[in-house]
C-alpha cells in the first residue's frame, strides 16, 4: 500500500497527474470509500486493502471532463470496465494515468457476518501481501476467517489476474477463480417458468429502489437515465404494478446487455443482497452461446455482437430454437 502512496506522490510532484482517484479509510475497517486526493497530504488517508472492492472506472467519466490527468488505480477486473467505457467514448484515455494494482480477491463483510460473527470492531490482515486468513476483532473476542471464505462471489469467478489496460503495474495479482461462473444461471434456466417467476419475484421484491446498482454500474453511464427522464413514461408506471421492480431490473439488464463486463458491482452494493449480476450473466451466457465467446471490455476497440453484424451470425430461427431449449 505504501508503494502505491509513494508512487502517487511522485506522480503528483512531477506534474504527471493533478489528482489521484483511489480509496480512503472509512469509519470501519471494512468500508473504505472512493475518494479524490488532490495533494500529498491528503494521500495520508489513502488505503488499499481487501475491502477496496469499488471499481473506479466509472468515476473516470467525470474525471475525464476535469483539467489535467487523473491517476487511477484499477484492479484487473476494473480494467475491463475502463476499456468498455473507452469503446463507448465515455472516458478519455489521455486524461487517465492508470496504475494496475495487484489483487488477491476482494472481501465481503456479509460473508464474514454470515459465519455468525457479529459486533465487529476491527478487521486486519486484509492487505495484498497479508496472510491466508484475516483477523476479525469483535466485542465478543477475535476470530480467524480464511481469506477465500470471506471473498465476494465475483472473485470466485475471477476473470483473471491480467490487467487489460494500464500505464504501469504495482503488486502481484492472483487468479482466484474456483467456481463455475454460469452454474447459478444454468440452475435458473432449468427452472419451470412458474418457478422462475416465483424466484425472481422473491428476489426482486426485496428491492427498495435505492438505485445503488444503477449508480455504481459502469455500463449505466447515461447522461440521463431513462428512469429519471420525463421524456419516457417509465416513471409513473411505478405505482400501477405491485411487482414494478421487475421492470426496473429487467430494463436495466437489457440496457447493459452486451456491454456489461460482469464486474459484479451491482450485487456488491445492493443493500438487500439481491443477486442482480445473474440477470447480466444470463445475457452474457446467451451471447456466448449464440455468437461465440465474447468478453465486454477485453479490448477498447472491439464490436460487441449485439451491435455488430457478420455473415456468420446465428439466424433468427436458430436463436429461437436455442432460446427455447
Amino acid at each position: 500500500m505504501q508503494e502505491l502512496i509513494n508512487r502517487a506522490k511522485e506522480l503528483l510532484a512531477d506534474g504527471t497527474v493533478v489528482r489521484v482517484l483511489g480509496w480512503r479509510k472509512g469509519d470501519m475497517d471494512y468500508n473504505p470509500e472512493v475518494a479524490y486526493f488532490n495533494s500529498a497530504e491528503e494521500l495520508d488517508n489513502f488505503v488499499y486493502d481487501g475491502f477496496c472492492g469499488a471499481n473506479l472506472s466509472k468515476y473516470m467519466i467525470e474525471a475525464s471532463k476535469l483539467e489535467g490527468k487523473t491517476l487511477v488505480f484499477l484492479k484487473p477486473c476494473d480494467t475491463y470496465s475502463f476499456n468498455q467505457l473507452l469503446c463507448e467514448h465515455r472516458v478519455d484515455r489521455d486524461k487517465a494515468y492508470i496504475i494496475g494494482v495487484g489483487c488477491r480477491g476482494k472481501l465481503d463483510i456479509e460473508k464474514v457476518k454470515a459465519q455468525g460473527i457479529s459486533g465487529i470492531t476491527a478487521v486486519s490482515g486484509t492487505e495484498l501481501d497479508g496472510p491466508d486468513s484475516i483477523k476479525v476483532s469483535t466485542i465478543y473476542g477475535d476470530f480467524d476467517v480464511a481469506y477465500t471464505d470471506a471473498m465476494l462471489e465475483r472473485c470466485h469467478v475471477c476473470k483473471g489476474k491480467e490487467h487489460k489496460i494500464y500505464d504501469e503495474l504495482i503488486g502481484e495479482s492472483k487468479d482466484t477463480h474456483d467456481m463455475d461462473r454460469m452454474a447459478a444461471v444454468a440452475a435458473i434456466e432449468a427452472m419451470s417458468p412458474t418457478e422462475k417467476f416465483a424466484y425472481f419475484q422473491a428476489e426482486l421484491s426485496k428491492c427498495i429502489r435505492c438505485n445503488a446498482c444503477r449508480n455504481v454500474c459502469p455500463a449505466c453511464s447515461c447522461r440521463k437515465c431513462v428512469f429519471d427522464s420525463t421524456k419516457f413514461d417509465s416513471q409513473q408506471k411505478a405505482n400501477v404494478d405491485s411487482f414494478e421492480e421487475k421492470m426496473f431490473h429487467i430494463i436495466r439488464a437489457f440496457h447493459v446487455a452486451g456491454r456489461c463486463t460482469d464486474c459484479g458491482e451491482c450485487s456488491r452494493v445492493c443493500p438487500q443482497g439481491i443477486p442482480l449480476h445473474l440477470f447480466n450473466r444470463k445475457f452474457i451466457k446467451d451471447i456466448d452461446e449464440l455468437y461465440g465467446k465474447y468478453q465486454a471490455g477485453e479490448t477498447a476497440d472491439q464490436r460487441a455482437p449485439l451491435v455488430n453484424f457478420t455473415f456468420g451470425d446465428a439466424e433468427p430461427s436458430i436463436v429461437n430454437e436455442r432460446g427455447s431449449k
Binding site: 463507448e88 419516457f232 413514461d233 455488430n308
Partner: protein
C-alpha cells in the same frame, strides 16, 4: 390537443362482414381527441376520399385515422387525399382492420373488439403525430444488373436502349447463364444458342452497356437513386485488351483434368479456358487451383504460346467503386443437390443424370458431341426413363415445397426430341401431375404423347437400382392402374428441382432485400408489384424471384427494366421524412447507433451543449437525413433513448401499446 377524424371502411364485405363497423365508429368517437367518426363502403373510392376531405375542412381536423386495409395498400392514397385537403400527409394513420383483423377472424364479436383496439392504438399515435416535411435526394443515372443470364441481359438491353448506362456484373467468365447451357427451347424447339447469342452479342456491342464478367459484387451502400457498389474483378490472369481469343493457350495447356462447369462436370476442360465457344467475352481465364504454373511455379506454356502476350500470372483481383441509381437482381438458379436422394442412384450410376445434364448430352458442343449415349459405356440406350418432380413439390426437408414450373415442359421436350431423332428408343415419363399452363404448352405436351408415343405413367419412382449387367431397374407405382411396376432402363433422367443460385443470400443481405424461406427474393407485392423488391430501387428479374421459363423471364426482365427506367428518368426523389433524430441532451455519444446503422447514416460531432445551464463539449450523434432510411435500428439500440424515429417516436409506440393494453 389534436382534432382527429376517424374513417372506418367497409371494404365492401371484406371488413364489414366480420367487423361491426358501426360499433367501431361509435367506440372510436369516444376516444380522446376524436371530433369526427364515420364509416363508408369504400373509403379509397373517390366518394370516400371526398368524405375525408370534407370532414377535414368542416371539422378543422388536425389528424385523421383511416381504419381500412394494410398501409401498404392505401396509406399513400389517404396521405395524398389529406394533402389535397390541406392537411400534412404525415398526420394520417392507418389502422389495419382488414389483413390484421377481418380476414383472419371468423367471430364478429372478437373481430369487432380487435378492430376497436386497433383504431384506439392508431388514435393514440396520431395524438402524438407532428407534421413532417420530406426532403429530396438525387438520382444517379446508371443501373447495375447483377447476373448475366438471359434475365440480366434482357434487363440491361432494355435499360440501355432507353439511354442509360448499365453495368452487368457476372460471376462466371462469360455471360449467357443457364440458357447458354440449354440445347433446344420449348415449345418451339428452336436452338437455345441461336436465339441467345445474338442477344449476348448485342449486349456486348451496346455502347451503353459495360460487362464485367468473372466479377462479383463486394459491398453495397446507399439507397434508392444513390447506391455505392464495390465490384471485385477477379484476376483472370489474362490481359483482356491484348487477348485475341485465338484459343492456342487452351489447346496447349497440359492441365486438362478439371471438370467443365459449363458441361455440368460431365467432361473436362483445361486449366486455362473459355467456358464455351460463343463465350462473351471470348477471353479465357486461368483456374488457379488447377494451373500447374500456379501450383508448382513450373510450366508457363500458355504464356509461351500466346502470340499477343496476354497471359499475366501476376494479375490481381481489382476492386472498383461505382454509383448507381437502380439495381436489377438477376442471379438465376441452379439445380438442387441430389445427395439426399439415394433412391435414384444418382451418385452410384453415371447413367442417372439430371435434366440439365441431358441438355449438355443432347448438345452438339456437349461431352458426347450431341450423340445420345450412356455416359458409363457409350452404348446407345434402348429405354430411357424420366422421373418428374425430383425434389419439387416435396413435403419433407430433402426437397423444395414449390413446383419448379419448367420441368413438365422440358421433360416433354426431351422425350419428344429423343423420339424424333431416335425412333428406336423407348421413352417413359413418370409424373405426379403434368402441368402445362402457357401458350401452346398443352398442345406441345399432347404432341409428345399422341404423335411421338411417349409413355406417360402417373406415379412416382420409388427406387432406381443399378444392375450387374449395367442396366437400371426402375421400381415405381402406377397410380392409375393401382399397381407396382418394375422396368429395365438404360438411362434415367431426373427432373431435378431448381433453387435460387446460392449467391443470392449474401447479396440479399447486402441489398437489405428480403428473401423468402426458399431463398427466392420477395417482391414488394405478390400481385401488384411483382418485379420490385420491398427495398426501394431494387428490381427483380428472372428466377431469383421465383421459378419461371424463358418467355416469362424475358417478360419479367423487361418489366424490371421499365421500373428501373422509371426511376432513372427522375431527376430528384422525395425522401422519407420519417428519419432518426438524436436528442442532444440525452445522447451519450457512445457510437452504438452508428455501429448498428445499416446505411452509414450516423456520424458524430463534438458540440457545445447547454444542458440546463451546464455548458460542456459533448460528443453527439448526427443523422444524415438523406442516408437515413428510417429503419429504427438505432432507436432500439440506443441505451439512453436519445435516438428517436420521427413519425414512429418511442412515445408514439408506447402510446399505441398502452392503448392496446388499456
Amino acid at each position: 390537443m389534436q382534432r382527429i377524424g376517424v374513417f372506418v371502411c367497409h371494404c365492401g364485405s371484406n371488413i364489414a362482414a366480420t367487423v361491426d363497423v358501426k360499433k367501431v365508429v361509435e367506440m372510436a368517437a369516444r376516444e380522446p381527441g376524436v371530433v369526427h367518426a364515420e364509416d363508408y363502403q369504400y373509403m379509397c373510392s373517390e366518394a370516400g376520399q371526398a368524405k375525408i376531405a370534407a370532414a377535414i375542412a368542416e371539422k378543422k381536423l388536425t389528424g385523421i385515422v383511416v381504419c381500412s386495409c394494410s398501409p401498404r395498400m392505401h396509406e399513400a392514397t389517404f396521405r395524398k387525399c389529406a394533402e389535397r385537403a390541406g392537411l400534412n400527409p404525415y398526420m394520417v394513420e392507418i389502422a389495419n382492420i382488414r389483413e390484421h383483423c377481418s380476414w383472419i377472424h371468423k367471430n364478429m364479436e372478437e373481430a369487432t373488439e380487435k378492430a376497436v383496439i386497433l383504431a384506439r392504438a392508431a388514435i393514440a399515435k396520431v395524438n402524438l403525430n407532428a407534421p413532417l416535411k420530406p426532403g429530396e435526394s438525387r438520382v444517379t443515372k446508371r443501373a447495375l444488373v447483377i447476373g448475366g443470364g438471359i434475365a440480366g441481359i434482357q434487363s440491361a438491353l432494355d435499360i440501355a436502349d432507353a439511354g442509360y448506362e448499365v453495368d452487368i456484373v457476372e460471376k462466371t467468365p462469360s455471360i449467357g447463364g443457364r440458357m447458354a447451357q440449354l440445347d433446344k427451347t420449348f415449345p418451339t424447339l428452336d436452338c437455345s444458342a441461336c436465339i441467345l447469342t445474338p442477344k449476348m452479342v448485342e449486349a456486348a456491342a451496346h455502347e451503353k452497356i459495360n460487362i464485367y464478367t468473372y466479377s462479383e459484387v463486394e459491398k453495397i451502400s446507399g439507397f434508392v437513386g444513390d447506391f455505392t457498389v464495390d465490384i471485385r474483378k477477379k484476376a483472370r490472369s489474362i490481359d483482356a485488351n491484348k487477348c485475341t481469343g485465338c484459343g492456342a493457350c487452351q489447346e496447349k495447356c497440359p492441365s486438362k483434368k478439371s471438370l467443365s462447369e459449363f458441361n455440368r462436370g460431365l467432361n473436362t476442360r483445361s486449366a486455362i479456358y473459355t467456358p464455351f465457344a460463343q463465350a462473351i467475352p471470348n477471353v479465357p481465364v486461368i483456374d488457379r487451383e488447377a494451373c500447374i504454373k500456379f501450383k508448382t511455379g513450373k510450366c508457363g506454356i500458355c504464356s509461351k504460346v500466346c502470340a499477343a502476350g496476354a497471359v499475366d500470372y501476376e494479375q490481381k483481383d481489382e476492386i472498383f467503386t461505382e454509383k448507381y441509381g437502380a439495381i436489377v437482381v438477376a442471379t438465376g438458379f441452379d439445380t438442387i443437390k441430389l445427395d439426399k436422394y439415394d433412391e435414384y442412384a444418382y451418385n452410384q450410376s453415371k447413367d442417372v443424370i439430371t435434366s440439365l445434364e441431358l441438355e449438355r448430352v443432347m448438345n452438339a458442343a456437349g461431352p458426347t458431341k450431341g450423340h445420345l449415349e450412356r455416359l458409363s459405356d457409350g452404348k446407345h440406350p434402348e429405354h430411357i426413363v424420366f422421373v418428374q418432380c425430383v425434389g419439387s413439390r416435396c413435403s419433407d426437408e430433402r426437397g423444395k415445397p414449390y413446383c419448379s414450373k419448367i420441368c413438365c415442359m422440358y421433360t416433354a421436350k426431351h422425350a419428344m426430341l429423343i423420339r424424333d431423332k431416335y425412333p428406336d428408343v423407348k421413352v417413359t415419363v413418370f409424373y405426379i401431375d403434368v402441368r402445362t399452363p402457357g401458350k401452346n404448352f398443352d398442345e406441345f405436351y399432347r404432341r409428345a404423347v399422341e404423335e411421338y408415343g411417349v409413355n406417360y405413367i402417373k406415379g412416382q419412382v420409388g427406387k432406381v437400382a443399378p444392375q450387374p449387367d449395367g442396366s437400371l431397374l426402375v421400381q415405381a407405382s402406377d397410380l392409375l392402374d393401382n399397381k407396382q411396376i418394375k422396368m429395365k432402363a438404360d438411362m434415367v433422367v431426373l427432373a431435378t428441382a431448381i433453387e435460387p443460385d446460392p449467391s443470392v443470400r449474401p447479396l440479399a443481405t447486402m441489398l437489405t432485400a428480403s428473401i423468402d424461406t426458399n431463398n427466392f427474393l420477395t417482391e414488394a407485392h405478390p400481385k401488384l408489384r411483382p418485379v420490385e423488391s420491398p427495398t426501394a430501387g431494387i428490381f427483380l428479374s428472372g428466377v431469383c424471384q421465383g421459378p419461371k421459363d424463358i418467355p416469362e423471364t424475358v417478360a419479367q426482365a423487361g418489366a424490371a427494366a421499365v421500373k428501373a427506367i422509371g426511376l432513372l428518368a427522375k431527376d430528384k426523389l422525395t425522401t422519407n421524412p420519417c428519419t432518426a433524430k438524436a436528442d442532444e441532451l440525452l445522447c451519450n455519444g457512445c457510437s452504438t447507433c452508428a455501429n448498428v446503422c445499416p446505411y452509414g447514416a450516423i456520424s458524430y460531432e463534438v458540440k457545445l451543449i447547454n444542458d440546463h445551464g451546464v455548458r460542456e463539449d459533448r460528443r453527439i450523434a448526427v443523422v444524415n437525413n438523406a442516408l437515413c432510411q428510417g429503419c429504427g435500428a438505432c432507436t432500439v439500440a440506443c441505451p439512453s433513448g436519445a435516438m428517436d424515429l420521427q413519425g414512429f417516436s418511442n412515445r408514439q409506440i408506447i402510446a399505441e401499446v398502452d392503448a392496446i393494453c388499456r
